[in-house]
Symmetry: C2
Subunit: 322 residues, 2 copies
């Protein structure tokens, strides 16, 4: 059985987007539900999601483990897995990790772009690695079954996390630096270490992570995938599109600035291009999975490899979370 999984979306959710994800044949989506929200604010977001589940039971349900991906496939629905792009909801309290897991959290980034209490983000000047609290948190995430996601983390912190974690970790949405130099993209060494430890890379379709931005071609993306597979093997690669459909630009401003600065930070953007970038025309939304399927075959991947990248690899990874 083959599964299709997009392991990172942060859309302005609506029935229309859930329908698009069904049209794309997605059996599972890892959705970002919080960035800088604390535990109380996280609980408000859960209430919103409960409304989505109640209003769209024919399209989505809350996924807890890999069996829910099988169930989604059988019922032609999309299993929604909750994830955090920052560790804000656990505040400074190790006990909150079990609580966010109980409410559905299955992925948590140890950092967004800045330093967190746990590790260093990729936008800091210096990277001191995983902190004292971070070590304790990784142990607890391993215990309860939340995946350590280092997409927005700095390199030493990521290597530390791979080393400390007893379970494979994930970089749910990023691309290799060899293809496009960006603070958010990853070095060959790091990708190799990630793969050797059983970890997964979700390739991003967010223009700031793509060569030639929104003009990136499907061919270029698929050739990059082939080279990445030479480094990591084809089984440790999936898709984490980072789709932010229908989000207003105020959201990307908030993602970057949170409440930490009085001056404006443009993150991956610039003053003149501060909003969400356009998507490449072959991946306007998740239905672009079909184009990627065609493109991956063209650059020489066999069917098993293509199916792996489009979802089976993530499915296998989910089997090891709990």
């Amino acid at each position: 059985m083959n599964f299709k999984i997009d392991n990172l979306q942060y859309c302005n959710w609506s029935r229309k987007i859930f329908e698009i994800n069904r049209q794309a044949g997605l059996d599972a989506v890892h959705v970002t539900i919080v960035y800088h929200e604390d535990f109380d604010e996280f609980q408000n977001v859960i209430r919103l999601w409960n409304k989505h589940f109640k209003e769209n039971p024919d399209l989505i349900f809350l996924g807890k483990d890999f069996k829910d991906i099988e169930k989604a496939k059988a019922e032609s629905k999309t299993a929604i897995f909750f994830g955090f792009q920052n560790c804000s909801p656990i505040e400074d309290d190790i006990e909150l990790i079990e609580k966010v897991h109980e409410k559905g959290c299955r992925f948590m980034q140890l950092t967004y772009n800045n330093q967190s209490l746990l590790a260093t983000g990729c936008y800091e000047k210096n990277d001191s690695g995983v902190t004292n609290f971070g070590r304790e948190v990784i142990k607890e995430m391993n215990r309860v079954g939340i995946v350590i996601d280092m997409s927005h983390s700095a390199e030493k912190s990521t290597l530390d996390a791979i080393d400390i974690s007893e379970k494979p970790i994930a970089i749910t949405h990023a691309n290799p630096i060899f293809w496009h130099v960006a603070k958010r993209n990853k070095s060959n060494d790091l990708l190799k270490t990630l793969a050797d430890s059983g970890g997964m890379l979700g390739l991003s379709l967010y223009s700031h992570h793509l060569k030639d931005s929104s003009n990136c071609t499907l061919e270029s993306f698929c050739e990059m995938t082939a080279k990445t597979a030479e480094i990591m093997g084809a089984k440790n690669i999936g898709i984490g599109s980072d789709l932010c459909l229908n989000q207003p630009d105020s959201i990307v401003e908030w993602m970057r600035n949170g409440t930490w600065t009085k001056t404006k930070n443009y993150g991956e953007g610039t003053k003149n291009k501060s909003g969400f970038p356009n998507q490449p025309d072959w991946f306007l939304d998740s239905r672009g999975f079909n184009n990627i399927e065609t493109g991956l075959k063209k650059v020489g991947f066999n069917s098993e490899e293509v199916n792996g990248i489009l979802g089976n690899n993530w499915f296998n990874f989910y089997k090891g979370i709990n």
Copy 2:
């Protein structure tokens, strides 16, 4: 006019302790009011302090600036200045700095022992210095008038803070490493840089920071002070006793562990000596200022220098806070 100031106490506050501080002739005390409390919890602590002020108006009042030290002297009371030993009350929100200042905060450590969102604590393995958020926070603390306190911070972070801050910073309670090697004590280079930038060191009377712990002699402490003055000059040194009178051992356990670990961390203590250490017999409480006065004269300080160290230096530093 000469002032007596203890620039760090964290006692289990009672009328009895306020009386002792008056008997010691203290015109001002910088009191730690929070460690790991968030903004809401900080506000609860303020309520407790308002009760202290209401019940002991003959002994204490809330100090806002150096004029309140003069007022305390004139009225034979002790001005209480609020400080934080961690940045937890400002959470991840730059706007909260102005709010905590409005409620009386005049000192804030950028870190306790662990990494914070702002900088690295002295118990971390690696020190990445002041973070992106930390830079913004220092600017805002400078603007509203809260002193940057780096007593529990790691060295590079402290040097960064000195460099970034437009106002002199403080190490309110620590001693030099040359006298007693401890993670919490400071290097000669750091002390020199601190003094050159107009910053203050408050010498600690907490046994874990003392040579020979609670068996430390008054002579040894005063000789250390003389050597420190050779490095820093006598005008950049004061007292920050770190007195924790009448605190139960559960408090030091909480200071060290907060809510960040499921295993027990002993900080400066050990498994067998995990509680608060005994005070040296010449500084059982703030009335020991008299012994220090005698001791400092004995090692060769002149009256002006002694009066500086016992309070006038801190008084002059307070003049520059706002």
